[in-house]
Protein backbone atom coordinates (compact mmCIF):
# COMPACT_ATOMS: atom_id res chain seq x y z
CA UNK A 1 0.00 0.00 0.00
CA UNK A 2 1.38 3.39 -0.93
CA UNK A 3 2.18 5.84 1.79
CA UNK A 4 0.93 9.31 1.01
CA UNK A 5 1.87 12.65 2.44
CA UNK A 6 -1.50 12.58 4.20
CA UNK A 7 -0.49 9.35 5.96
CA UNK A 8 2.62 11.03 7.26
CA UNK A 9 0.71 14.14 8.27
CA UNK A 10 -1.70 12.00 10.23
CA UNK A 11 1.15 10.23 11.94
CA UNK A 12 2.77 13.54 12.89
CA UNK A 13 -0.54 14.86 14.17
CA UNK A 14 -1.25 11.83 16.30
CA UNK A 15 2.27 11.58 17.64
CA UNK A 16 2.12 15.22 18.66
CA UNK A 17 -0.36 14.32 21.39
CA UNK A 18 2.40 12.45 23.17
CA UNK A 19 5.28 14.75 22.44
CA UNK A 20 4.65 17.56 24.85
CA UNK A 21 6.58 17.74 28.10
CA UNK A 22 4.60 17.57 31.28
CA UNK A 23 4.27 20.51 33.61
CA UNK A 24 6.49 18.57 36.01
CA UNK A 25 9.22 18.28 33.35
CA UNK A 26 8.96 21.97 32.64
CA UNK A 27 9.27 22.93 36.29
CA UNK A 28 11.92 20.38 37.18
CA UNK A 29 14.30 21.47 34.46
CA UNK A 30 13.69 25.14 35.23
CA UNK A 31 14.39 24.51 38.88
CA UNK A 32 17.56 22.61 38.07
CA UNK A 33 18.79 25.46 35.91
CA UNK A 34 18.08 27.95 38.68
CA UNK A 35 19.96 25.81 41.16
CA UNK A 36 22.89 25.28 38.82
CA UNK A 37 23.22 28.94 38.02
CA UNK A 38 22.61 30.07 41.58
CA UNK A 39 25.50 28.03 42.94
CA UNK A 40 27.72 28.98 40.05
CA UNK A 41 28.21 25.51 38.65
CA UNK A 42 30.41 26.00 35.69
CA UNK A 43 29.49 24.86 32.27
CA UNK A 44 32.17 23.39 30.13
CA UNK A 45 33.71 25.00 27.15
CA UNK A 46 34.88 22.40 24.70
CA UNK A 47 36.96 24.08 22.08
CA UNK A 48 35.83 27.44 23.24
CA UNK A 49 38.54 29.32 21.45
CA UNK A 50 36.12 30.46 18.81
CA UNK A 51 34.20 33.59 19.54
CA UNK A 52 30.66 34.77 19.17
CA UNK A 53 27.77 32.51 18.43
CA UNK A 54 29.83 29.81 16.81
CA UNK A 55 32.04 29.65 19.86
CA UNK A 56 29.05 29.40 22.08
CA UNK A 57 27.60 26.63 20.04
CA UNK A 58 30.82 24.69 20.39
CA UNK A 59 30.28 24.56 24.11
CA UNK A 60 28.96 21.42 25.64
CA UNK A 61 27.61 21.52 29.09
CA UNK A 62 28.56 18.97 31.66
CA UNK A 63 26.28 19.93 34.50
CA UNK A 64 24.16 17.01 35.43
CA UNK A 65 20.49 17.58 35.79
CA UNK A 66 20.25 15.43 38.81
CA UNK A 67 22.91 17.31 40.70
CA UNK A 68 21.15 20.53 39.99
CA UNK A 69 17.74 19.32 40.93
CA UNK A 70 18.93 17.78 44.13
CA UNK A 71 20.78 20.85 45.14
CA UNK A 72 17.67 22.72 44.18
CA UNK A 73 15.61 20.48 46.39
CA UNK A 74 18.03 21.00 49.23
CA UNK A 75 17.97 24.73 49.08
CA UNK A 76 14.72 25.29 47.31
CA UNK A 77 12.72 26.02 50.39
CA UNK A 78 15.11 28.61 51.64
CA UNK A 79 15.57 30.52 48.44
CA UNK A 80 12.55 32.43 47.36
CA UNK A 81 14.24 33.92 44.36
CA UNK A 82 17.16 32.99 42.24
CA UNK A 83 20.40 34.67 43.07
CA UNK A 84 21.98 35.65 39.83
CA UNK A 85 25.55 34.59 40.17
CA UNK A 86 27.61 34.64 37.07
CA UNK A 87 31.04 33.21 37.09
CA UNK A 88 33.70 35.45 35.80
CA UNK A 89 34.16 34.34 32.24
CA UNK A 90 37.59 35.86 32.24
CA UNK A 91 38.81 33.95 35.23
CA UNK A 92 36.83 30.77 35.08
CA UNK A 93 38.89 27.74 34.26
CA UNK A 94 37.48 25.06 32.05
CA UNK A 95 36.35 21.93 33.75
CA UNK A 96 37.05 18.57 32.20
CA UNK A 97 34.16 16.95 30.40
CA UNK A 98 35.33 13.43 31.02
CA UNK A 99 32.96 11.14 32.82
CA UNK A 100 35.34 11.19 35.72
CA UNK A 101 34.71 14.87 36.25
CA UNK A 102 32.76 15.30 39.38
CA UNK A 103 30.62 18.27 40.24
CA UNK A 104 32.72 20.08 42.78
CA UNK A 105 31.89 22.64 45.34
CA UNK A 106 30.46 25.87 44.07
CA UNK A 107 33.00 27.65 41.99
CA UNK A 108 33.99 31.08 43.09
CA UNK A 109 31.53 33.29 41.38
CA UNK A 110 31.22 36.94 40.82
CA UNK A 111 27.93 38.37 41.91
CA UNK A 112 27.15 40.99 39.40
CA UNK A 113 24.28 43.16 38.51
CA UNK A 114 22.43 41.53 35.65
CA UNK A 115 22.33 43.27 32.33
CA UNK A 116 19.49 45.74 32.24
CA UNK A 117 17.51 43.93 29.61
CA UNK A 118 17.70 40.53 31.21
CA UNK A 119 14.58 39.78 33.15
CA UNK A 120 15.14 38.01 36.41
CA UNK A 121 12.77 36.36 38.80
CA UNK A 122 11.76 39.09 41.16
CA UNK A 123 12.64 39.98 43.78
CA UNK A 124 16.27 39.23 43.24
CA UNK A 125 17.99 38.72 46.53
CA UNK A 126 21.51 37.83 47.39
CA UNK A 127 21.34 34.55 49.19
CA UNK A 128 24.19 33.22 51.20
CA UNK A 129 23.99 29.57 50.41
CA UNK A 130 24.64 27.37 53.38
CA UNK A 131 28.08 26.21 52.39
CA UNK A 132 27.79 22.90 54.08
CA UNK A 133 24.57 21.98 52.41
CA UNK A 134 25.93 22.26 48.92
CA UNK A 135 29.59 21.56 49.44
CA UNK A 136 29.30 18.23 47.72
CA UNK A 137 26.70 16.42 45.68
CA UNK A 138 26.62 13.73 48.30
CA UNK A 139 25.67 16.14 51.01
CA UNK A 140 23.18 17.84 48.80
CA UNK A 141 21.67 14.48 48.06
CA UNK A 142 21.56 13.60 51.69
CA UNK A 143 19.70 16.80 52.43
CA UNK A 144 17.41 16.36 49.51
CA UNK A 145 16.51 12.80 50.20
CA UNK A 146 13.81 13.43 52.77
CA UNK A 147 12.10 15.73 50.31
CA UNK A 148 12.23 13.27 47.46
CA UNK A 149 10.90 10.29 49.35
CA UNK A 150 7.21 9.82 49.35
CA UNK A 151 6.11 9.40 52.90
CA UNK A 152 2.65 8.04 52.38
CA UNK A 153 3.06 5.51 49.65
CA UNK A 154 0.63 2.66 49.85
CA UNK A 155 2.16 -0.65 50.74
CA UNK A 156 1.90 -2.79 47.63
CA UNK A 157 1.16 -6.45 47.63
CA UNK A 158 4.21 -8.65 47.22
CA UNK A 159 3.60 -9.35 43.54
CA UNK A 160 2.80 -5.80 42.67
CA UNK A 161 5.63 -4.64 44.88
CA UNK A 162 8.19 -6.74 43.07
CA UNK A 163 6.90 -5.57 39.73
CA UNK A 164 7.10 -1.98 40.84
CA UNK A 165 10.52 -2.48 42.34
CA UNK A 166 11.75 -4.06 39.12
CA UNK A 167 10.34 -1.29 37.01
CA UNK A 168 12.00 1.30 39.24
CA UNK A 169 15.31 -0.49 39.02
CA UNK A 170 14.93 -0.57 35.26
CA UNK A 171 14.79 3.22 35.38
CA UNK A 172 18.12 3.20 37.16
CA UNK A 173 19.52 0.90 34.54
CA UNK A 174 18.18 3.12 31.78
CA UNK A 175 19.79 6.17 33.36
CA UNK A 176 23.10 4.33 33.61
CA UNK A 177 22.85 3.19 30.04
CA UNK A 178 22.43 6.78 28.98
CA UNK A 179 25.35 7.89 31.08
CA UNK A 180 23.30 9.81 33.60
CA UNK A 181 25.03 8.50 36.66
CA UNK A 182 23.82 11.23 38.97
CA UNK A 183 20.25 10.58 37.97
CA UNK A 184 20.80 6.90 38.66
CA UNK A 185 22.27 7.67 42.07
CA UNK A 186 19.34 9.90 42.94
CA UNK A 187 16.86 7.26 41.84
CA UNK A 188 18.66 4.65 43.91
CA UNK A 189 18.50 6.94 46.92
CA UNK A 190 14.76 7.27 46.54
CA UNK A 191 14.30 3.58 45.99
CA UNK A 192 16.40 2.65 48.99
CA UNK A 193 13.84 4.32 51.20
CA UNK A 194 10.84 3.35 49.14
CA UNK A 195 11.78 -0.34 49.12
CA UNK A 196 13.49 -0.55 52.49
CA UNK A 197 12.44 -4.17 52.80
CA UNK A 198 12.37 -4.86 49.09
CA UNK A 199 13.47 -7.89 47.15
CA UNK A 200 16.07 -6.25 44.95
CA UNK A 201 18.26 -4.69 47.60
CA UNK A 202 21.29 -6.58 46.36
CA UNK A 203 20.83 -5.42 42.77
CA UNK A 204 20.34 -1.85 43.89
CA UNK A 205 23.50 -1.99 45.96
CA UNK A 206 25.46 -3.28 42.94
CA UNK A 207 24.02 -0.62 40.69
CA UNK A 208 24.95 2.02 43.23
CA UNK A 209 28.61 1.03 43.17
CA UNK A 210 28.69 1.19 39.41
CA UNK A 211 26.85 4.50 39.30
CA UNK A 212 29.21 6.04 41.85
CA UNK A 213 32.19 4.86 39.82
CA UNK A 214 30.85 6.39 36.69
CA UNK A 215 30.06 9.64 38.46
CA UNK A 216 33.71 9.82 39.44
CA UNK A 217 32.87 9.52 43.11
CA UNK A 218 35.54 6.93 43.66
CA UNK A 219 35.82 7.17 47.43
CA UNK A 220 32.12 6.67 47.88
CA UNK A 221 32.21 3.89 45.31
CA UNK A 222 35.00 2.19 47.20
CA UNK A 223 33.04 2.33 50.44
CA UNK A 224 29.89 1.08 48.78
CA UNK A 225 31.83 -1.72 47.12
CA UNK A 226 33.31 -2.84 50.42
CA UNK A 227 29.89 -2.86 52.03
CA UNK A 228 28.46 -4.81 49.14
CA UNK A 229 31.12 -7.50 49.23
CA UNK A 230 30.83 -7.78 53.00
CA UNK A 231 27.09 -8.08 52.90
CA UNK A 232 26.74 -10.27 49.82
CA UNK A 233 29.98 -12.26 49.64
CA UNK A 234 28.43 -14.99 47.52
CA UNK A 235 26.60 -12.71 45.15
CA UNK A 236 27.01 -13.34 41.43
CA UNK A 237 27.30 -9.57 41.13
CA UNK A 238 30.50 -9.37 43.17
CA UNK A 239 32.69 -9.73 40.09
CA UNK A 240 30.96 -6.90 38.29
CA UNK A 241 31.03 -4.73 41.35
CA UNK A 242 34.74 -5.36 41.83
CA UNK A 243 35.41 -4.42 38.23
CA UNK A 244 33.20 -1.37 38.26
CA UNK A 245 35.94 1.23 38.71
CA UNK A 246 38.53 -0.56 36.64
CA UNK A 247 38.57 2.15 34.01
CA UNK A 248 39.60 4.72 36.56
Amino acid sequence: MTCTDEDLRKLYRNAAHFEQPSRADHLAVRRAISAATAVGISTVAAGASASGVQGLLAQLVAVKFSTGILIGAAIGTTISATAYVVESRMAAPSVATAPSARPGPPLPGRRIAPPERVKLPAPVVAVELPTKSVSSPAEARAMARPKTVATALPTPSDADGLMEESADLARVQAALSQGNAETAIALLGEQRAKFASGKLTEERAAAEVIALCFAGRYEQASGARSRFVARYPGSPLVKRVNESCKSR
Binding site: N14, F65, P115, I210
Partner: protein, 196 residues
Protein backbone atom coordinates in the same frame (compact mmCIF):
# COMPACT_ATOMS: atom_id res chain seq x y z
CA UNK B 1 2.87 22.21 16.18
CA UNK B 2 2.71 23.16 12.59
CA UNK B 3 2.53 20.34 10.14
CA UNK B 4 3.51 21.12 6.62
CA UNK B 5 4.53 18.72 3.95
CA UNK B 6 4.37 19.61 0.31
CA UNK B 7 3.50 23.25 0.65
CA UNK B 8 4.35 24.90 3.94
CA UNK B 9 1.66 27.39 4.73
CA UNK B 10 2.13 30.75 6.37
CA UNK B 11 1.53 30.37 10.06
CA UNK B 12 1.16 32.52 13.06
CA UNK B 13 4.52 33.27 14.55
CA UNK B 14 5.29 34.54 17.95
CA UNK B 15 7.42 37.58 18.52
CA UNK B 16 10.66 35.75 19.11
CA UNK B 17 10.17 33.59 16.04
CA UNK B 18 9.96 36.74 13.95
CA UNK B 19 13.05 38.08 15.64
CA UNK B 20 15.10 39.72 12.91
CA UNK B 21 18.74 39.02 12.35
CA UNK B 22 21.03 41.11 14.44
CA UNK B 23 21.35 42.00 18.06
CA UNK B 24 18.82 40.56 20.46
CA UNK B 25 18.17 40.94 24.14
CA UNK B 26 17.82 37.54 25.67
CA UNK B 27 15.03 37.29 28.21
CA UNK B 28 15.83 33.87 29.58
CA UNK B 29 12.52 33.22 31.30
CA UNK B 30 10.59 34.17 28.21
CA UNK B 31 12.80 32.08 25.96
CA UNK B 32 12.49 29.13 28.33
CA UNK B 33 8.71 29.40 28.55
CA UNK B 34 8.31 29.67 24.82
CA UNK B 35 10.83 27.11 23.67
CA UNK B 36 10.94 24.42 26.34
CA UNK B 37 8.42 22.22 24.54
CA UNK B 38 10.26 22.78 21.25
CA UNK B 39 13.51 21.66 22.85
CA UNK B 40 11.87 18.72 24.57
CA UNK B 41 10.13 17.19 21.58
CA UNK B 42 13.07 17.70 19.23
CA UNK B 43 15.58 16.19 21.61
CA UNK B 44 13.38 13.14 21.70
CA UNK B 45 12.97 13.11 17.92
CA UNK B 46 16.74 13.22 17.64
CA UNK B 47 16.91 10.04 19.66
CA UNK B 48 17.59 11.21 23.21
CA UNK B 49 16.15 8.57 25.51
CA UNK B 50 13.22 9.47 27.74
CA UNK B 51 15.38 8.93 30.79
CA UNK B 52 17.86 11.54 29.54
CA UNK B 53 15.44 14.19 28.33
CA UNK B 54 15.60 16.31 31.46
CA UNK B 55 19.38 16.21 31.49
CA UNK B 56 19.60 17.10 27.84
CA UNK B 57 17.02 19.89 28.07
CA UNK B 58 18.89 21.35 31.00
CA UNK B 59 22.12 21.31 29.04
CA UNK B 60 20.51 23.13 26.16
CA UNK B 61 19.11 25.87 28.35
CA UNK B 62 22.28 26.27 30.34
CA UNK B 63 24.00 27.15 27.09
CA UNK B 64 21.21 29.62 26.38
CA UNK B 65 21.50 31.00 29.89
CA UNK B 66 25.20 31.53 29.61
CA UNK B 67 24.61 33.68 26.58
CA UNK B 68 22.66 36.23 28.62
CA UNK B 69 22.23 39.91 27.86
CA UNK B 70 22.53 41.23 24.34
CA UNK B 71 24.24 39.37 21.58
CA UNK B 72 24.38 39.06 17.85
CA UNK B 73 22.01 36.46 16.50
CA UNK B 74 22.50 35.04 13.04
CA UNK B 75 19.01 33.65 12.69
CA UNK B 76 15.95 33.37 14.86
CA UNK B 77 16.07 32.34 18.48
CA UNK B 78 14.37 29.11 17.54
CA UNK B 79 16.89 28.27 14.84
CA UNK B 80 19.72 29.12 17.23
CA UNK B 81 18.25 26.88 19.92
CA UNK B 82 17.87 24.05 17.44
CA UNK B 83 21.54 24.29 16.54
CA UNK B 84 22.34 23.93 20.24
CA UNK B 85 20.00 21.06 20.89
CA UNK B 86 21.22 18.97 17.96
CA UNK B 87 24.75 19.21 19.35
CA UNK B 88 23.56 18.22 22.80
CA UNK B 89 21.62 15.31 21.30
CA UNK B 90 24.68 14.18 19.36
CA UNK B 91 26.77 14.34 22.52
CA UNK B 92 24.21 12.19 24.34
CA UNK B 93 24.34 9.66 21.52
CA UNK B 94 28.08 9.41 21.64
CA UNK B 95 28.05 9.08 25.38
CA UNK B 96 25.37 6.42 25.49
CA UNK B 97 26.94 4.36 22.72
CA UNK B 98 30.34 4.46 24.39
CA UNK B 99 28.90 3.51 27.73
CA UNK B 100 26.84 0.68 26.36
CA UNK B 101 29.90 -0.83 24.77
CA UNK B 102 32.46 -0.14 27.45
CA UNK B 103 30.80 -0.38 30.76
CA UNK B 104 27.15 -0.96 31.18
CA UNK B 105 26.31 -3.72 28.80
CA UNK B 106 27.05 -6.25 31.56
CA UNK B 107 24.26 -4.70 33.61
CA UNK B 108 21.67 -5.74 31.11
CA UNK B 109 20.47 -8.72 33.01
CA UNK B 110 20.08 -6.98 36.35
CA UNK B 111 16.47 -6.55 35.51
CA UNK B 112 14.33 -8.00 32.81
CA UNK B 113 13.98 -5.02 30.54
CA UNK B 114 10.66 -6.20 29.26
CA UNK B 115 9.11 -5.56 32.64
CA UNK B 116 9.53 -1.85 32.14
CA UNK B 117 8.86 -1.54 28.45
CA UNK B 118 5.09 -1.90 28.30
CA UNK B 119 4.61 1.00 30.65
CA UNK B 120 6.97 3.21 28.69
CA UNK B 121 5.30 2.41 25.42
CA UNK B 122 1.88 3.03 26.88
CA UNK B 123 2.98 6.46 28.04
CA UNK B 124 4.39 7.32 24.67
CA UNK B 125 1.53 6.21 22.56
CA UNK B 126 1.86 3.97 19.59
CA UNK B 127 2.02 6.84 17.13
CA UNK B 128 4.94 8.51 18.85
CA UNK B 129 6.83 5.25 19.05
CA UNK B 130 6.16 4.72 15.36
CA UNK B 131 7.31 8.23 14.50
CA UNK B 132 10.50 7.90 16.53
CA UNK B 133 11.24 4.54 14.95
CA UNK B 134 10.87 6.03 11.47
CA UNK B 135 12.96 9.08 12.32
CA UNK B 136 15.71 6.85 13.67
CA UNK B 137 16.07 5.32 10.21
CA UNK B 138 16.81 8.64 8.53
CA UNK B 139 20.24 10.05 7.91
CA UNK B 140 21.07 12.80 10.39
CA UNK B 141 21.08 15.67 7.91
CA UNK B 142 17.84 14.57 6.29
CA UNK B 143 16.19 14.12 9.68
CA UNK B 144 17.08 17.69 10.64
CA UNK B 145 15.47 19.05 7.50
CA UNK B 146 12.32 17.01 8.01
CA UNK B 147 11.97 17.93 11.66
CA UNK B 148 12.27 21.63 11.11
CA UNK B 149 10.16 22.04 8.00
CA UNK B 150 7.58 19.27 8.15
CA UNK B 151 7.14 18.80 11.88
CA UNK B 152 7.95 22.24 13.23
CA UNK B 153 6.68 24.18 10.25
CA UNK B 154 9.74 26.36 9.96
CA UNK B 155 10.18 28.38 6.82
CA UNK B 156 12.95 27.21 4.55
CA UNK B 157 15.14 30.27 5.22
CA UNK B 158 14.83 29.81 8.97
CA UNK B 159 15.66 26.11 8.68
CA UNK B 160 18.67 27.01 6.54
CA UNK B 161 19.95 29.22 9.33
CA UNK B 162 19.41 26.53 11.93
CA UNK B 163 21.29 23.96 9.88
CA UNK B 164 23.82 26.31 8.29
CA UNK B 165 23.09 25.09 4.79
CA UNK B 166 21.94 26.81 1.63
CA UNK B 167 18.40 26.57 0.37
CA UNK B 168 19.13 24.08 -2.40
CA UNK B 169 20.79 21.73 0.03
CA UNK B 170 17.86 22.04 2.39
CA UNK B 171 15.30 21.20 -0.26
CA UNK B 172 17.37 18.28 -1.52
CA UNK B 173 17.58 16.86 2.00
CA UNK B 174 13.90 17.47 2.56
CA UNK B 175 12.91 15.63 -0.59
CA UNK B 176 15.15 12.73 0.27
CA UNK B 177 13.86 12.66 3.85
CA UNK B 178 10.21 12.57 2.75
CA UNK B 179 11.00 9.83 0.30
CA UNK B 180 12.74 7.77 2.97
CA UNK B 181 9.91 8.35 5.42
CA UNK B 182 7.32 7.14 2.93
CA UNK B 183 9.35 4.09 2.08
CA UNK B 184 10.03 3.15 5.68
CA UNK B 185 6.40 3.80 6.56
CA UNK B 186 5.29 1.39 3.85
CA UNK B 187 7.79 -1.20 4.95
CA UNK B 188 6.66 -0.83 8.53
CA UNK B 189 3.02 -1.17 7.54
CA UNK B 190 3.75 -4.22 5.41
CA UNK B 191 5.68 -5.75 8.27
CA UNK B 192 2.86 -5.07 10.73
CA UNK B 193 0.35 -6.49 8.28
CA UNK B 194 2.26 -9.72 7.98
CA UNK B 195 2.22 -10.25 11.73
CA UNK B 196 -0.35 -12.78 12.88
Amino acid sequence: MALALAAPEPRAETESQRQPLGEVALDFDAVYAEHFAFVWRNLRRLGVADSSLRDAAQEVFLVVHRRGGNFELRGTIRSWIYSILRRVAAAHHRKSQRLMVEQFAPLDDLVDETMANPERHAERGQELSQLLALLALLDDDKRDALLLVDLEGMSAPEACLALDVNINTLYARLRAARQQMRRHFEEQRASDGSQP
